[in-house]
C-alpha cells in the first residue's frame, strides 16, 4: 500500500493541474462491478483554497527527463522524487471510492525514462482498474507527448476523458520555454483523438457496449509567460472548440518561480486569467465569437468584463425590451446570465415583466438596468460615459476581491509553477 509520504509528494506535484471536473460521462455500472459516472459531475469535498475535490489527482511518478522552464518537476529541479506502482494506485482508488471520498481518478505523470514507458504504465493502471477491479467510475488520463499513436488510441477506450496540455499559446513560445516539446507533439495526439472519436461515435451510434472518450478532451495553457495577446489566445481556444470539439480550455496565469532571462519577472495577476475565463464562457454558452470579443492583437479590458465591453461598443443595439427580445439578445445583456435569460423566457409567457418582477426572480440588475427596458420603462442612465464609470466602479470592487482572493505575496514563492 502507498505510504503517506509518497502520496504527499505525488499529490503536491499534481495539484497545479487546474482540471478536476468529473462531468460529461454517463458510464454505467456493470454487473459485478463498482462505480459509475454522473453526467453533471459530483464534488466530494472542498479545500480551504475554495477548490473542489472531485477526482483523486495524482502523478504516477514525478521523475522527469524533460526540462520545461516553468515546471516544478523539471529534470534539473531539486525536489523530492517519488513514484507509485499501478497496483498501489488501483488499491488507493478503490478504497477511496467505496468510502465515497472521490468520484474517480485523475492520473498524470512526469516523463519517466521515456514517453512510451510512461504511457504504458499509465495505461496499465487504467486497464487494471477497469478489468481486474471492474471499476466503472470516472477516469481522466493525461496524455504524454511523443508517446506511440497506438498507445493513445488504446488508452482512449478505457478512460472517460483525456487531456494534452498545450502549455503555451504559440509555437514560438513553446520552442523557447519548453524546447523538448514541439507544437506537433502536442497537437498531433489531440487531432488524432478528435478524429478517432468522431469516427467511433459515427459507427457506434446508439450502442453503449464500448466507449471512446465519452467526456471528450480538455487542454490547459499558461497565460503571461509569453507575449501573446488575449485576442490571440481566444482565437486559439475558439479553434480548439470548433476543430477538435474540445470540452474545455483551462487558463492559468503565470507566476515566476525560476529566474531565467527568457521568463518575465512579474506575476501575470489573476485578473487576466479571470477575464479570459469570462470571455471563454461567452464563446461557449453565449453565442459570441472571438472576433466580437477582442481584436487579434488586443487584450481584454481590465475595467469591466468582456460582455460589458462588447455592449458599450455596440450601444446602438440597446436598450432591449425584456418582454420581447429574442434569447440571443437577452444573453448579450451585461449582467444577465444563461440561467437568468431562460427564466425570463419562461416567465414572460404568462405575464409581462416589470423591474420588480426581475428582482423577485433574483436577476441582478446592477449592470443590466443600463441595457434593458421593462414594458418600455428604462431605469438606467442615458449618458454613456456615466454608464462606463458606473460599470467600471462596480468591476473595480469585483477586481479588488479577485486579487485579494489569490495574490498574496507568498504566492510567487510557493506556488512553484506557472501552471497556476
Amino acid at each position: 500500500m502507498i505510504d503517506a509520504n509518497r502520496l504527499k509528494i505525488l499529490t503536491e506535484s499534481a495539484k497545479y493541474d487546474v482540471s478536476c471536473s468529473s462531468s460529461g460521462s454517463t458510464r454505467a455500472n456493470r454487473k459485478g462491478g463498482i462505480g459509475n459516472a454522473s453526467i453533471g459531475g459530483i464534488c466530494h469535498s472542498f479545500t480551504p483554497d475554495g477548490r473542489c475535490i472531485s477526482l483523486l489527482k495524482l502523478l504516477l511518478s514525478n521523475r522527469c527527463i524533460y526540462n520545461c522552464l516553468y515546471c516544478p518537476n523539471r529534470a534539473e529541479a531539486d525536489v523530492p522524487r517519488a513514484s507509485a506502482t499501478p497496483e498501489e494506485i488501483c488499491e488507493l482508488v478503490l478504497s477511496f471510492y467505496k468510502r465515497n471520498y472521490i468520484e474517480g481518478l485523475f492520473l498524470s505523470s512526469a516523463v519517466d525514462r521515456s514517453p512510451d514507458h510512461t504511457m504504458e504504465l499509465l495505461i496499465d493502471t487504467v486497464i487494471r482498474l477497469r478489468k481486474v477491479y471492474r471499476f466503472n467510475g470516472y477516469i481522466h488520463l493525461k496524455g504524454i507527448p511523443y508517446a506511440d499513436k497506438a498507445l493513445i488510441s488504446r488508452a482512449a477506450r478505457y478512460v472517460d476523458r483525456m487531456s494534452y496540455n498545450i502549455e503555451l499559446p504559440s509555437e514560438h513560445s513553446l520552442k523557447l520555454l519548453a524546447p523538448q516539446k514541439s507544437k506537433e507533439s502536442l497537437l498531433m495526439p489531440i487531432r488524432q483523438l478528435a478524429t478517432e472519436k468522431f469516427v467511433f461515435d459515427q459507427e457506434k451510434k446508439g450502442k453503449h457496449s464500448t466507449r471512446f472518450l465519452p467526456a471528450g478532451q480538455t487542454t490547459q495553457m499558461i497565460v503571461g509567460a509569453s507575449p501573446e495577446s488575449d485576442g490571440q489566445i481566444l482565437r486559439l481556444s475558439e479553434a480548439f472548440y470548433r476543430k477538435f470539439s474540445m470540452k474545455r480550455v483551462y487558463y492559468s496565469s503565470y507566476v515566476p518561480v525560476v529566474h531565467h532571462a527568457l521568463l518575465p519577472k512579474k506575476c501575470t495577476g489573476l485578473l487576466r486569467e479571470h477575464r479570459l475565463y469570462q470571455a471563454d464562457w461567452l464563446m461557449r454558452f453565449y453565442g459570441f465569437t472571438a472576433d466580437e470579443i477582442a481584436g487579434t492583437s488586443e487584450n481584454l479590458p481590465e475595467e469591466y468584463d468582456p460582455k460589458c465591453a462588447w455592449a458599450l461598443k455596440n450601444m446602438h443595439l440597446f436598450p432591449v425590451e425584456i418582454n420581447s427580445a429574442p434569447l440571443e439578445m437577452l444573453l448579450r445583456v451585461p449582467g444577465i446570465g444563461n440561467l437568468g435569460a431562460y427564466k425570463i423566457l419562461k416567465a414572460r409567457k404568462f405575464s409581462s415583466l416589470g423591474f420588480e418582477d426581475l428582482t423577485k426572480m433574483r436577476i441582478v440588475l446592477k449592470r443590466a438596468k443600463h441595457f434593458i427596458t421593462c414594458n418600455g420603462k428604462f431605469f438606467g442612465s442615458e449618458n454613456i460615459s456615466t454608464v462606463k464609470t458606473m460599470l467600471a466602479l462596480e468591476a473595480h470592487e469585483e477586481k479588488y476581491e479577485q486579487l485579494s482572493m489569490f495574490s498574496t505575496p507568498e504566492t510567487s514563492v510557493s506556488a512553484l509553477t506557472g501552471q497556476l
Binding site: 472542498f46 468510502r99 415583466l353 498574496t408
Partner: protein, 246 residues
C-alpha cells in the same frame, strides 16, 4: 380557523388537502410544537385512501409532473412545507394547468425554491456522504441532513455499490437504509448504532486527510468559498474536516 394536524406522510397530506383545499383560512402542519391561535380548531387528520387518490388524480390531470414537485417539497425540513405545497396545489387547480413556469409568481417562486433546496441537498450528499468500513466489510455512513433525503440519494448509491453491502443512517430522523447486496430495506433505528471498524479504516482515513492537506494550495486561502460550497454543518461526519474523528 381550522388547524389540520398531520404526521408528515404524503398520504396524510393528500387526505387533508381534500378538505383544506377549499378551506381558505386554514393551517396544515406536521410540526410537533405548533403555535395555536385563540380561535384554532384542531382537526386530527386520518388517512382516507379514496380522498387521497381523488386529490392526486385531480392534480395529475392538470399537471402530471406536479406530484413529484410536491413529494420533494414535503421532504423539506421546515414547518411551513405543507402550506407551501397546499398553496402550490391551489394555484394549479385554479389555473387548470401547470404553473411551474410562471417564474414571477410569488407562490411559484416559493414552491420552486423549497423544491430546489431539497434537490440541492440531495445532490450535495451524493458527494459529501462518507462511508466507514465496518468489521465485516459492511460500509456504514451516518449523516444528518436538513431535509428528509435518504430515499432520494439511496438509488444513486445502489447503482454505484451493487456488490458492496452498506448502511446509510440518517441520525436525525432515526432511520437507515440497509443494503446487503441483494435486498434493500429502510428501518427505524436507535439514536446511535455502535459499529466496530475494520483494521484498515484508520489507515485510509489518515491517507485521505493527508491527501486533503496536500492538494490544497495554502497560499491562496479562500475559506469563504469553501464554506459556501460545503457548509460547516455538513462537516460532522467528514474525516478530512475532523482529524480526530477516527
Amino acid at each position: 380557523m381550522n388547524v389540520y394536524i398531520l404526521d408528515g406522510t404524503e398520504n396524510m397530506f393528500y387526505s387533508a388537502v381534500f378538505f383544506a383545499y377549499s378551506d381558505a383560512d386554514c393551517i396544515l402542519s406536521s410540526a410537533k410544537n405548533i403555535q395555536l391561535t385563540l380561535d384554532a380548531r384542531i382537526i386530527t387528520v386520518e388517512y382516507e385512501e379514496d380522498k387521497c387518490e381523488r386529490v392526486k388524480k385531480k392534480i395529475a390531470q392538470y399537471d402530471p409532473k406536479a406530484l413529484s414537485d410536491i413529494a420533494l417539497i414535503l421532504k423539506r425540513g421546515c414547518d411551513t412545507k405543507e402550506m407551501t405545497a397546499l398553496q402550490y396545489i391551489r394555484l394549479i387547480l385554479k389555473n387548470r394547468a401547470p404553473v411551474r413556469d410562471q417564474l414571477s409568481h410569488p407562490m411559484v417562486i416559493e414552491a420552486m425554491d423549497e423544491r430546489d433546496k431539497v434537490t440541492l441537498e440531495a445532490h450535495r450528499f451524493k458527494g459529501f456522504l462518507r462511508f466507514m468500513e465496518g468489521d465485516h466489510g459492511i460500509m456504514y455512513a451516518p449523516f444528518s441532513p436538513d431535509n428528509d433525503i435518504l430515499e432520494l440519494i439511496l438509488p444513486h448509491f445502489l447503482r454505484r455499490l451493487t456488490t458492496q453491502p452498506f448502511i446509510i443512517h440518517d441520525t436525525l430522523r432515526h432511520k437507515a437504509a440497509l443494503w446487503n447486496g441483494k435486498e434493500c430495506a429502510i428501518a427505524q433505528t436507535d439514536d446511535r448504532i455502535s459499529v466496530r471498524f475494520s483494521p484498515d479504516e484508520e489507515n485510509f482515513q489518515h491517507l485521505w486527510q493527508e491527501y486533503y492537506c496536500a492538494v490544497n494550495i495554502a497560499q491562496r486561502p479562500h475559506e469563504k468559498q469553501m464554506k459556501g460550497y460545503m457548509p460547516v454543518r455538513y462537516w460532522k461526519f467528514m474525516p478530512e474536516k475532523n482529524p480526530g474523528l477516527r
